[in-house]
Amino acid sequence: MSTRQQVLVLYLATSALDSETVGWSRYDGTARTSPTTGDGDEPPYKSGVHALEDGWRLFQAAQLIPPYPGHEYDVSFLKHEFFFEKLVEVDAGDGTARTESSR
């Protein structure tokens, strides 16, 4: 048995963890699923707090950085990015997921 990481990224409507999800990405270190761009219409969780309630562990949130002078009206990347993980036990041989240690 060994441990693999599943990663969930939620983009939220404000800098608050309990604001609503506007975008999302998933990466699966167990290789059992292959999430990719444009593969769904509904977010997995309504907010960051809903992800916590389902056992995801937050490990990074975007810093709040003031706009550079002269660029106050520029729009660019999504600002409110939150990274979550779940740690999953897998068989070393075939990568089959066994348990989710964060639940």
């Binding site: 990405s25 990719t36 761009t37 219409d41 729009v75």
Partner: protein, 270 residues
């Protein structure tokens, strides 16, 4: 230009907000059958900046495609007469591809605020949900991001996963985030893209007889579900600036936002 159907102001305002314009099934079935064969055989490249006449000889498939009245009218309204062909490409998404394209904008970051290129995308066959139709993100075209730096974003609320009838043509603003989705079907999916550069100032090129229709402001005020609350206001602010550039009307505003932050009264107190 009386013989081609120009876009209305309401439609142009929709393009300024969404960054795209979709024309369903505007190419007739016999041309679509021919189009699939043309795309299977490939379309040779042309030098950057070619005229339409030089790039696509009179009577050729591509020339007939862009001379269809609905296509020609939209193209004229968006970039005006005599646009240059920047480049073109046949895109094929193969059956059961494992990966989608990452979300991206084409070329390098392009920050023009008073001009834009359009990308014509033509779909010669019906595109079903599992065929990996083009993903695009409404309202993303004014964001200053470079090429595939947006590849981290897999899904955004309100994204468009194209499903369309054969013969559909979509025009995209050059900055719109998009990508070919994973094709989970048994069918090869074809798309032909041409990027056009304007050669005239893009000002009031469409049918402006409805310029003061209230639906213009409604369309320009569109909100998309993936916008963060605060940035959504900046998107509308930037749309006002683009609409001012396209119409030449520097008094146009929505919610008084541009007027308010530009206010520098010069009158002295007596």
């Amino acid at each position: 230009m009386a013989d081609i159907p120009l876009l209305s102001s309401v439609e142009m305002a929709g393009f300024v907000a969404h960054g795209s314009l979709r024309l369903d099934a505007v190419v007739p079935p016999d041309m679509n059958e021919e189009g699939i064969e043309v795309l299977r055989n490939g379309v040779p490249g042309v030098p950057y900046g070619s005229s339409v006449q030089d790039a696509y000889p009179d009577g050729s498939f591509v020339r007939r495609l862009i001379e269809l009245p609905a296509v020609a009218g939209a193209l004229y309204s968006l970039v005006g007469p005599g646009p240059s062909v920047d480049h073109h490409a046949v895109h094929v998404r193969y059956p059961h591809e494992g990966q989608a394209q990452p979300l991206h904008g084409d070329a390098i970051i392009d920050v023009r605020t008073d001009a834009f290129d359009v990308q014509l995308m033509y779909y010669p066959q019906d595109v079903t949900p599992d065929m990996g139709g083009t993903l695009s993100v409404p309202g993303s075209h004014l964001r200053r991001t470079n090429e595939s730096d947006t590849g981290r974003y897999q899904n955004l609320r309100g994204q468009s996963r194209l499903v369309c009838p054969a013969g559909t043509v979509v025009f995209l603003h050059h900055g719109l985030w998009h990508g070919g989705r994973r094709n989970d079907s048994d069918v090869e999916r074809y798309m032909f893209k041409i990027r056009f550069n304007p050669t005239v100032r893009q000002r009031r090129l469409w049918d402006t007889s409805d310029l003061h229709d209230p639906r213009v402001a409604e369309n320009l005020s569109a909100h998309f579900p993936w916008y963060e609350h605060a940035t959504a206001r900046l998107e509308i602010y930037n749309r006002v600036l683009l609409w001012r550039a396209l119409t030449g009307d520097d008094s146009f505003d929505l919610e008084h936002w541009v007027t308010r932050v530009a206010n520098r009264p010069q009158k002295e107190v007596a």
